[in-house]
């Protein structure tokens, strides 16, 4: 009969109106600036540099300025200058470090290719999205001090991925240690022979953190 559909519609809106006062499922709005919706773990917006230690972020960057990400970046928003000297990394081994590492976030398109290609797990995607500034040139060009964030932050935004990365790094470290030990033993066994297989320092890019004591 004419009108029954209208009454049904009125009932629907009335239920929603009353329900919005006591039923969370009917009142789904999150009042944004005060309350923030939980982001999914895979959300990605702008890369950041992982540092091992929150107290000394510049000293413990995982990045060794290999410049793969700079070369791979499709919109070319990454700029890296290698250091002239070497500094010990988190594991105490001497490494080149990025003297300048800058990302132009006005150019970055969040493709995550820099993360995919990094052999050192040094660059990861962040969860930030409130980066509005009054100056679109200098303030959107993030330098390494702004980009460096501790591993604990990485754990806080992506617990699963961070745990997996940590486990892999630890396993690699252990394997490298054992290899070094074996190499040392072999060296000790072949003491009189001239030093043949000892180019330990130059490392292939696919192999993370070389062994340390």
């Amino acid at each position: 009969m004419l009108g029954t559909g209208l009454l049904k519609g009125l009932a629907v809106t009335a239920r929603n109106l009353v329900g919005s006062f006591h039923d969370d499922a009917r009142y789904t709005t999150v009042e944004y600036p005060e309350v923030k919706a939980a982001l999914p773990e895979a959300f990605r917006n702008f890369p950041f540099l992982v540092s091992e230690n929150a107290d000394d972020p510049m000293g413990t960057l995982r990045c060794v300025a290999c410049q793969i990400c700079e070369k791979e970046c499709p919109p070319q928003c990454i700029y890296i200058e290698k250091s002239k000297d070497k500094k010990p990394d988190a594991n105490g081994k001497l490494q080149i470090y990025p003297a300048v590492f800058a990302i132009d976030t006005s150019v970055c398109m969040n493709c995550q290719i820099c993360v995919e290609v990094c052999p050192f797990d040094a660059i990861k995607m962040d969860h930030v999205f409130e980066i509005a500034t009054g100056d679109r040139f200098l303030e959107l060009l993030l330098n390494r001090e702004q980009l460096a964030k501790p591993n604990s932050y990485f754990h806080s935004i992506r617990p699963n991925e961070a745990a997996e990365v940590d486990a892999r790094l630890a396993a690699d470290r252990k394997a490298a240690e054992e290899k070094a030990k074996a190499a040392a033993l072999a060296k000790a066994a072949a003491k009189p022979a001239p030093p043949a297989g000892a180019p330990g320092a130059p490392k292939p890019p696919g192999e993370p953190k070389p062994p340390t004591a």
Partner: protein, 402 residues
């Protein structure tokens, strides 16, 4: 005003009158009349101005809740200062008049619209003693003044020199004139049975109690219920409210006749829309819901103007509820609904009311027959006409493309 009031006059009932007399009692006669009239005007403007502000907030809040969001909540506690913020914003905006517009008509349109909306408030009885102008033909006056809005809307559309405005104005004319007819036909039975065109007289005619407790409001009779529903549907269309807001259909006509209006004049249009809605609701309360009468004899200790306010606000919330629910009609659906459904129903309703009036003296058990026949006279045409109206249109079936 309404001398033959059987209910004891309590203090609160007489308070507005006493207050006014205390203020103007010392004046000589012609001056006293003038000052009293000015006081009534100022009161109506103040009360309904504030109601307009409260209504805009309530509407946005309720629409928000219906749509799973909180509505305005940034200005003041719970967004209570939102109407003030809106007012400041719109009043400080630039008033832009198109170069090719007819400047005089462009200026006059909102003024006439608002004036006609405010004039309608003069004859509504807000309480037992609260009516600004008590005329013999006040209902006729009310609807005559209300018809002026059509002229004002067409003025707005024509003078803007804008194709959207003009299209909207033509639509508005088609819509408002179409719905003027069911609107007028729906309250005719009330006048027939009350035997008066005076709003206070109509309210007084609904003042008795059936069986000592059941209010004799028109809406509780079969013809009165049908008349009330037709009246409210036509009132929705007359006040350009959703789902009949075709004249300002944003998605089709930008903002219709409001396209070329900005700032203060734009607000005047909105004010007139809400005033018109309020006035029509007030008239619906007067004609069908017993005006300021209490719903039960035991509740008569509450002042009459409170009852009027309660009924008025209930109807206004109904308007908002309907706006929150229904999508806009198409123009052909709109006019077809008026001419093929509401007008025939209203005409049949005249006959129902005549039957109800003539059979009033039927003895005892025949009263049940009377009720059954009247209900049949209301429901039968509704079902038959409704079936014809939606024949071939519903229920819709959808098929995927092969």
């Amino acid at each position: 005003m309404n001398g033959a009031a059987p209910i004891p006059d309590r203090l609160l009932e007489r308070a507005p009158q006493m207050l006014r007399d205390a203020l103007t009692g010392f004046l000589p006669e012609p001056w006293r009349w003038l000052v009293n009239a000015v006081i009534a005007m100022v009161l109506i403007l103040a009360v309904f101005g504030l109601l307009f502000a409260a209504l805009t907030l309530a509407e946005r809040k309720i629409l928000g809740r219906v749509q799973n969001r909180p509505g305005p909540n940034r200005t003041g506690p719970f967004g209570l200062l939102q109407p003030i913020a809106d007012g400041i914003k719109t009043l400080t905006k630039e008033d832009i008049v198109p170069r090719d517009a007819d400047h005089l008509l462009h200026f006059l349109a909102p003024v006439i619209l608002l004036a006609s909306a405010i004039l309608a408030f003069a004859v509504i009885p807000y309480g037992r003693r609260l009516v600004a102008v008590d005329m013999d033909a006040s209902i006729l006056y009310f609807f005559a003044v209300g018809a002026t809005t059509e002229l004002a809307i067409f003025m707005a559309g024509w003078s803007s020199h804008n194709k959207y405005s003009l299209l909207a104005a033509m639509r508005a004319l088609a819509q408002l004139i179409s719905y003027e007819l069911p609107l007028l036909l729906s309250w005719l039975p009330v006048v027939m049975l009350s035997g008066t065109l005076s709003a206070t007289g109509v309210v007084a005619a609904q003042g008795s109690w059936k069986a000592g407790w059941f209010p004799a409001w028109n809406v509780f009779t079969p013809w009165g219920f049908a008349g009330f529903v037709i009246f409210m549907v036509a009132a929705l269309a007359e006040s350009n409210r959703s789902p009949f807001d075709l004249p300002e259909a944003e998605s089709e006509l930008i903002a219709g006749h409001l396209t070329e209006y900005s700032g203060c004049k734009y607000v005047l249009f909105f004010m007139a829309e809400y005033f018109g809605m309020t006035a029509l609701s007030g008239m619906a309360v007067t004609l069908f819901l017993g005006g300021w009468q209490a719903p039960l004899p035991s509740l008569e200790f509450i002042p009459s103007y409170v009852w009027f306010a309660v009924k008025l606000i209930a109807l206004l919330l109904g308007f908002i509820w309907i706006r929150a629910t229904f999508p806009r009609l198409r123009i052909d659906q709109l006019t077809r609904f008026a001419w093929k459904f509401l007008v025939p129903l209203a005409l049949v309703n005249l006959g129902t009311a005549a039957f109800w009036s003539l059979s009033a003296a039927w003895p005892g058990p025949l009263q049940l027959v009377r009720l059954a026949v009247a209900v049949l006279l209301v429901a039968g045409p509704f079902v038959l006409l409704g079936r014809r109206l939606s024949a071939g249109l519903a229920p819709r079936t959808y098929a995927y493309a092969p």
